[in-house]
């Protein structure tokens, strides 16, 4: 659906070269929600703006449905852009237009007939829950309501793709939740592919199917959200994950464990989906005569999947411990032996 191949973007500011995006290759599938996360200045906005050519890449190609955007003439590019909605952190509504007129904008730009505009705008305002506010001006709305208007406006041209540039970064946590719910609903009901960028791992966790992590203009890690959560490779990814749940054991606890005569092994078990239901601790005790002791546990929801992390200390015969680890690994659980001695 969306294909970025070796995309780079260089800015020149007073003869100073800024490489905002460096050699990014990624593919977004039809119907998925693809998240791009990174710290401020990582190049996220520049990258997402390359997808609809608001920013022309210095190098590399951007293809939508197999069509290279660079090959399009001005008019064709404008037509393609109508199929790519975009929403922004700052909403970017016309302050001199009512809610209704703001949502009608893409239809009017395309010269749609009046009755079609009335019908479509009414429908969209219904979807975003602002039907009764259609005569108001943006200055009379809250941030969340403004973003809803922006979403309705972005949907007015029946886009196949919705680009979200930090759509929730200016909103409070509760409003963020409701906007994310709305995006999820739009993705499911209307099968619109969504690309969103954010600096909050929470947003990725809640609605994204796949994620790319950006650092200094490069994509340093990408994959299914669940995989990235259970097997983060890069330090920056681990840092982002830490912002929503801390898997490191406190130093004081580790010190305590070290003082035991038989400290045993510390295991971190990550599990997703059905395995949550299995009584693994009981199995360890019964089958292998081990004594598992829970040190830390966390269960969370990653989009539709339950994802849990458990840190346990097991004591028993070394051979039995190894057998227990093998058993757990056989269950497709993610097992990691924590080296606490070092």
């Amino acid at each position: 659906m969306i294909q970025l191949k070796n995309v780079s973007k260089v800015f020149y500011q007073n003869k100073h070269k800024i490489e905002a995006v460096k050699n990014v290759t990624l593919e977004v599938q039809q119907g998925e929600i693809f998240g791009i996360i990174g710290f401020s200045g990582a190049g996220k906005s520049t990258l997402i703006r390359c997808i609809n050519f608001l920013e022309r890449p210095t190098e590399g190609t951007v293809s939508i449905n197999g069509v290279d955007l660079a090959s399009l003439k001005e008019g064709q590019l404008r037509k393609t852009r109508r199929k790519i909605g975009m929403i922004f952190q700052t909403f970017n509504l016309l302050s001199s237009n009512t809610v209704f007129d703001n949502v009608a904008t893409p239809l009017r730009l395309a010269g749609a007939p009046r009755n079609e505009i009335n019908r479509k705008v009414g429908e969209l305002l219904e979807i975003v829950g602002l039907k009764e506010k259609e005569a108001m001006y943006p200055s009379q709305l809250s941030g969340g309501q403004k973003q809803r208007v922006a979403i309705a406006r972005a949907l007015a041209s029946d886009p196949e793709i919705l680009l979200c540039d930090e759509a929730t970064s200016a909103l409070d946590p509760q409003t963020t939740e409701s906007i994310l719910e709305l995006l999820l609903e739009i993705n499911r009901k209307y099968h619109i592919t969504i690309v969103l960028i954010t600096h909050e791992m929470h947003v990725i966790k809640k609605i994204c199917d796949r994620v790319a992590v950006m650092e200094n203009g490069k994509v340093v890690e990408q994959g299914k959200v669940l995989d990235v959560f259970s097997r983060p490779q890069q330090a920056i990814t681990k840092n982002f994950i830490k912002t929503i749940f801390d898997v490191n054991l406190p130093e004081s606890l580790l010190a305590q464990i070290k003082q035991h005569d038989d400290p045993g092994q510390l295991l971190r078990i990550s599990f997703a989906g059905d395995h949550v239901a299995e009584p693994i601790l009981a199995e360890l005790a019964v089958k292998f005569a081990l004594r598992p002791n829970i040190m830390y546990g966390n269960i969370t929801q990653i989009k539709d999947t339950t994802f849990g992390t458990l840190v346990i200390r097991v004591t028993g015969e070394p051979a039995a411990i190894q057998a227990g680890i093998d058993y757990l690994s056989g269950l497709e659980l993610q097992i990691e032996v924590i080296d606490y001695a070092g």
């Binding site: 609809n52 608001l54 404008r78 037509k79 393609t80 852009r81 109508r82 790519i84 909605g85 975009m86 922004f88 700052t90 970017n92 509504l93 016309l94 302050s95 001199s96 237009n97 009512t98 904008t105 893409p106 730009l109 395309a110 001006y137 200055s139 922006a150 406006r153 041209s157 680009l163």
Partner: protein, 224 residues
């Protein structure tokens, strides 16, 4: 003293009516022409800046310099300096016609700057949103720039109009008539202090009306 003032007011009544009319004609004609030119220049100054929809450093720089040059001349000097140009455009350098040309050359660049800064206030994000919706450059100018900037454009026009009223008083020197002409001929050369005072009051009245009107319209537009 006061009775004296009213007597003189009645005596020169026709003169005042006539000069108000002349000032009105000069201001309105010059304003319409200057506003059209000024708005056009203002738009060009905005959209040819680096990174904007018609980015063009050469056009932008040339326009910038021309406007700065024109803006650095006081009206009275400009009026004399462009006499050949005025003659070429309207065939005469005196009367209302002869005054309108220098008034426009004086006011249009000023308005261009005022309207430029009004247009610059428009949020770049909104322009970007329109680009992402596939708007043409023309649609961006008419539906975003001009529309969003309306209150500030009106305030800019108001300031420009007031400066125009002032300049039109000086145009009296070339026989264009108007309040300035009356003030010079009767108030200064014939030493009729009452006429002078009346002219000053009438000019103040003009400025007040223009300013209040402009502020009211801008306020109405901004309420949204």
């Amino acid at each position: 003293m006061l009775g004296n003032f009213f007597d003189s007011f009645a005596e020169f009544w026709d003169l005042y009516v006539q000069s108000m009319r002349e000032t009105g004609i000069m201001v309105v004609y010059s304003l319409v022409i200057s506003a059209a030119i000024g708005l056009l220049l203002g738009i060009v100054l905005v959209v040819t800046r680096p990174g904007h929809i018609y980015a063009n450093p050469i056009v932008y720089q040339v326009m910038n310099i021309i406007i700065n040059v024109l803006r650095s001349l006081p009206f009275i000097i400009l009026m004399v300096a462009i006499i050949p140009f005025t003659k070429w455009v309207v065939g005469t350098t005196i009367g209302v016609k002869g005054a309108i040309v220098p008034l426009v050359v004086y006011t249009a660049p000023y308005l261009a700057r005022l309207l430029e800064s009004a247009l610059l206030e428009v949020d770049r994000g909104v322009i970007e949103a329109f680009q992402s919706m596939g708007a043409t450059h023309r649609q961006i100018i008419t539906r975003v720039l001009l529309r969003e900037a309306r209150p500030s454009l009106v305030l800019g026009l108001t300031i420009g109009t007031i400066s125009l009223v002032g300049a039109s008083a000086m145009a009296g020197v070339v026989g264009a008539g108007g309040l300035g002409d009356v003030a010079i001929r009767y108030g200064y050369q014939r030493w009729e202090p009452n006429v002078m005072i009346t002219c000053v009051l009438l000019l103040i009245l003009w400025v007040q009306i223009v300013q209040s009107l402009g502020t009211a319209i801008a306020k109405r537009l901004r309420k949204r």
